[in-house]
């Protein structure tokens, strides 16, 4: 049990659903709280977490999520066709946000600010930025830099890379 402690993590956020974004943010914040150097790399739809217009509008995926249950995580499985009914995703999102608020987990925009203030660097994937045709105005001020994947690996020297 005397293994070398983790000193640095690079966390990749690749999904743009609410449940796709939070784990990476919680892990990045948790790393900083432990004194571990941390950076976040947002790619594909995960990039929405640092896009001003999108960051506070992320939703829980109720379709294609066989673990989705109602009325809570230990309830009945939600049939995919029911998950597809308009408003289901918004409903599940508001339920999850309420539960997170109780645990003092901030909304995405506020969480990004807290994690950035904690000293975690935030990067956007260049391929995605080009594909989505985004400019620097689209990003929240906490987003530090657009990086190529090569630059990401360079900056991650000595890091544990965590893909979410």
């Amino acid at each position: 049990m005397n293994a070398e402690p983790i000193k640095k993590v690079s966390i990749v956020v690749s999904k743009g659903s609410l449940e796709g974004v939070y784990p990476g943010l919680i892990m990045a914040n948790g790393a900083r709280m432990e004194g571990i150097e941390a950076s976040l790399f947002f790619t594909f739809f995960g990039l929405h977490a640092v896009v001003k217009k999108k960051m506070d509008k992320l939703r829980v995926a109720t379709v294609g999520n066989p673990a989705m249950c109602v009325p809570d995580a230990m309830g009945f499985a939600l049939p995919t066709i029911v998950g597809a009914i308009p408003g289901m995703s918004a409903f599940a999102t508001s339920m999850m946000k309420k539960e997170m608020e109780k645990l003092d987990i901030p909304p995405v925009g506020e969480f990004i600010e807290m994690i950035s203030d904690a000293g975690c660097k935030m990067y956007a994937c260049k391929a995605t930025v080009d594909m989505f045709k985004l400019s620097s105005d689209d990003f929240c001020p906490q987003m530090d830099k657009v990086l190529t994947v090569g630059e990401f690996y360079e900056l991650s020297a000595g890091s544990q890379i965590i893909f979410t």
């Binding site: 919680i26 004194g35 645990l103 003092d104 987990i105 904690a118």
Partner: protein, 105 residues
């Protein structure tokens, strides 16, 4: 690190070095723990954080998380990291004589 005493004062500590009996905590012990955590000497700014943890702990019986420190305690994230580098709430809770934080956020 000492097992059962801090600067020669007998105290009960858990395996991570946190006081298990808050009644044994004194400002002198806080200063000694701050030394161990590399944040000594404690300034007024540090004390503001320690006092907020104490008040909040009395009310809720749990060490406040970062968001509560910000919103209720009025202490910004950046200040906490500046005052208690590399593990702000863990360090502040230990110095304040409270248990190791048990929350993920």
């Amino acid at each position: 690190m000492s097992e059962n005493s801090i600067i020669g004062i007998a105290v009960d500590l858990d395996e991570s070095g946190y006081l298990t009996n808050h009644d044994q905590w004194t400002p002198v012990i806080a200063e000694a723990l701050a030394g161990e955590e590399g944040v000594a000497p404690l300034t007024d700014e540090h004390w503001k954080v320690l006092k907020f943890i104490a008040e909040d702990y009395k009310e809720r019986e749990t060490v406040p998380g970062m968001r509560r420190m910000n919103k209720v305690g009025g202490i910004p994230t950046k200040d906490l990291y500046r005052l208690f580098p590399d593990g702000p709430i863990k360090k502040a809770a230990r110095i304040a004589g409270y248990p190791k934080p048990a929350s993920c956020v």
